[in-house]
Amino acid sequence: MSESRTPIVETDLTRPFWQATKQRRFLLQYDPKADRYQFYPRPISLYSTAPLVWREVKGEGTLIAHTLCHTPAPGFAALTPYILAIVQLAEGPRVFARVADAKYEELKVGQKMRIVWGDELGDGREYLFAPAN
């Protein structure tokens, strides 16, 4: 029995983000008034009532937490166990994603990570983390 992955259902709000992932670009919402970024995309700025704009970021950050998951989400059985992590990007927001190219035991909270792109969603738009070095 192979369950398929939970499909990503884009909304008007998040469409620019998902469109950009197709070109392997990672966008954050930016509040120019507060000079703050946020992720996931929200309907309003967390920091002011200013309109939000999209900004591309490099996707570099710091490992905040990681876990080796033995109980897969739908569609992830073949990858199990797999590593999931929270990374705080240099711009501030924390992002949750799977980790590629690393062993769980070798990862250390505080180490530098970067976003890399995977092809498992079919069109190359799955964002993952990998150690930066």
Binding site: T11, D12, L13, R42, P43, I44, S45, L46, T49
Partner: protein
């Protein structure tokens, strides 16, 4: 049992906002909630950090999510000391105004965002369970109009057909919608009594033009203490001065007449609390999913005697400028029902009237208003929830 703090004008609604209801927005409830919160914060001129309470209603479009208020707080960036969802259908929004007031009164929080957003055209996940799934749907219960058709037939058998009163209401509310640019554009076309009477039967004796149309939308209200309202320099506070609620009226089927509802209790009790007679009410904003519901409310709250509502409507002027204006903005039936953000449509119209912000619909006398809510159909009888709030313009 008293809620003296209401009569003491301790609580104030200091701001309100809505999105224009549309039939197919293509948006999610979260996006609509974001828009309306944004508008509310701007119009109130306060920082988000001041909000420390959150009262929401469920959304048909998000019904599988049992953590909806937390999702809203996360998406809107609110951190609060009290939050809740009120799940009494169309009675939830005025219910939330009161729950927010009670939480402020009890010291749980000071500034509450009462918010409702739903996008049933984008996705619809609500699925009723229990007796509905087991003892109604399998036996041919299809849509809500069916329940109100049954009520109408019971009413007509007792008092005669109220068609002519309903026709007058339909035209009156539509006239309000024509003057209301916040009403759903789809509904803003003129209507005559003949149009109403000729509209097709949906569930005999209920006609198409008796029924509310579902759409997407959101509304929001900011509730705080009157002391805080003064400190904020709020120019037009609106005080809830009485409120009563009745859930699951007649649980034991002790009442013979299925047209009777909790309004027989909540209506007179709210008027008594406020120290007002029905004739003192300057505008009436009854919950309207179907026009027959307004007739029942007029009678059961005490504006007229049982069986007299149709005559009452024809003998009085219930339009703008009349002696008892009803649903001046079009009501839900002519402005649109934004899913489970429903009860907010008539409430926001009442608040706008009291704040003097009703534009071409502005009533000359608008120092008080009565707003009601109706929620959820019980098994083989009337609706389950009835609530009444009386609002007063602050000094």
């Amino acid at each position: 049992m008293t809620m003296q703090w209401l009569q003491d004008r301790e609580i104030a609604i200091v701001a309100c906002a809505d999105t224009k209801p549309v039939k197919r927005s293509g948006k999610t409830a979260l996006e609509l909630a974001g828009e309306v919160t944004d508008t509310l914060l701007r119009s109130a001129g306060i920082e988000r950090d001041r909000i420390d309470g959150l009262a929401a209603t469920p959304a048909n479009s998000e019904a599988y999510n049992p953590f909806w208020t937390s999702m809203l707080a996360d998406a809107l960036g609110l951190s609060v000391g009290w939050s809740q969802v009120t799940d009494i259908g169309g009675a939830s929004i005025i219910g939330n105004i009161l729950r927010a007031g009670a939480a402020v009164h009890a010291g749980l929080c000071e500034m509450v965002l009462c918010i409702a957003a739903d996008a049933p055209s984008t996705q619809f996940f609500a699925k009723q369970s229990g007796f509905r799934a087991e003892f109604c749907d399998p036996f041919g219960y299809s849509v809500l109009p069916l329940s109100f058709a049954l009520l109408t037939s019971a009413y007509a058998a007792r008092y005669g057909s109220p068609d002519r009163g309903l026709a007058r209401l339909a035209v009156t509310q539509r006239n309000g919608a024509l003057l209301n640019d916040r009403a759903c554009d789809y509904l803003r076309v003129p209507l005559t009594e003949e149009d109403y009477l000729a509209s097709r039967m949906i569930s005999h004796p209920l006609r198409l033009l008796d029924c509310v149309m579902r759409c997407d939308g959101a509304n929001a209200f900011l509730v705080t203490s009157s002391r805080m309202a003064r400190e904020m320099g709020c120019a037009a506070p609106v005080h809830p001065i009485a409120y009563r609620e009745c859930i699951n009226f007649d649980p034991k089927n002790a009442v013979d007449d299925i047209t009777l509802t909790g309004f027989t209790q909540a209506g007179p009790a709210a008027l008594r609390d406020a120290g007002l007679a029905p004739a003192d009410i300057q505008s009436f904003h009854p919950y309207d999913d179907f026009y027959i519901a307004i007739l029942l409310q007029l009678e059961q709250i005490g504006f007229c005697r049982r069986g007299q509502a149709s005559d009452f409507i024809r003998e009085h002027n219930v339009g703008i400028g009349g002696d008892l204006p009803i649903n001046t903005g079009g009501g839900q039936i002519s402005a649109g029902q934004p899913g489970l953000a429903n009860g907010g449509v008539n409430l926001i119209e009442a608040v706008r009237q009291l704040r003097g912000e009703a534009g071409p619909r502005q009533l000359a006398e608008a120092s008080n208003a009565m707003v009601t809510g109706i929620g959820v159909i019980q098994y083989a009888r009337n609706w389950g929830c009835s609530n009444v709030i009386i609002l007063e313009r602050g000094a």
